[in-house]
């Protein structure tokens, strides 16, 4: 019995100790989005290279999908010159925070 309790406690501690990717924080994301806003934050903005089309809207998009897209740009699965450069400079936590910001209804500190 004592053994079981100790095992359980150890398992719980281990769970806490494993560096689980912290959930994204919308407020932290808002602090990191200056690189995004120049294109994604402007109505009707278009990419000019390698093809001309509208830069996708991100407001209300699923965080999980945004993270997957950023990871795909970072590892080269998805190709777009500017996005590859920007995503390449982001840490996993940055991606989580940015995705949480765009997925959430939080739009910045109250003015």
């Amino acid at each position: 019995m004592k053994h079981t309790t100790m095992t359980l406690c150890a398992a719980m501690l281990l769970t806490l100790a494993v560096p689980v990717q912290a959930a994204g924080d919308p407020q932290a994301g808002r602090q990191k989005n200056s690189m995004c806003a120049g294109c994604h934050g402007i109505p009707g903005w278009r990419t000019a290279y390698p093809a001309v089309y509208s830069v996708p809207k991100l407001g209300g998009q699923h965080a999980e999908y945004i993270v997957a897209a950023l990871q795909a740009y970072k590892n080269g699965e998805r190709s777009h010159p500017s996005m590859a450069g920007i995503a390449g400079s982001l840490s996993d936590q940055d991606m989580e925070d940015l995705a949480a910001y765009y997925a959430s209804s939080y739009s910045g500190p109250a003015k």
């Binding site: 806003a37 994604h40 089309y53 509208s54 996708p56 809207k57 407001g59 998805r78 910001y101």
Partner: protein, 108 residues
């Protein structure tokens, strides 16, 4: 009807068809969207967080994404299969349909 009139009629018809192909017809897109809805949601808002919502997205972006899936430039096992049988017109129609739904927004 003289020859000139016939030629102009044909030219006009050609122009109107071309506009149609480029623009995409949302109503036609709706009729072709049943397969998409299974993952992206009936209203273009997906219930599964790994599948993107499409509602309100720019139609030219959606069209571009579909083209890239078909050409293989953008790789996704599910989407690669889905776009295989879509014509250029189908993609334009679907893009028009989803872009007209209410969902995504521009966030600064």
């Amino acid at each position: 009807m003289n020859k000139t009139a016939i030629i102009f009629s044909i030219l006009a018809l050609g122009c109107s068809l071309q506009v149609q192909a480029k623009g995409g017809d949302a109503e036609a897109g709706k009729a072709k969207s049943a397969t998409c809805a299974a993952c992206h949601g009936e209203n273009g808002v997906s219930a599964t967080p790994s599948f993107p919502s499409l509602a309100g997205q720019y139609s030219d972006y959606l069209y571009h994404a579909l083209k890239d899936y078909k050409s293989g430039k953008r790789k996704n096992a599910i989407m690669a299969g889905q776009v295989q049988n879509l014509s250029d017109q189908d993609m334009a129609d679907l893009a028009a349909y989803f872009s007209k739904q209410k969902g995504l927004s521009i966030k600064y």
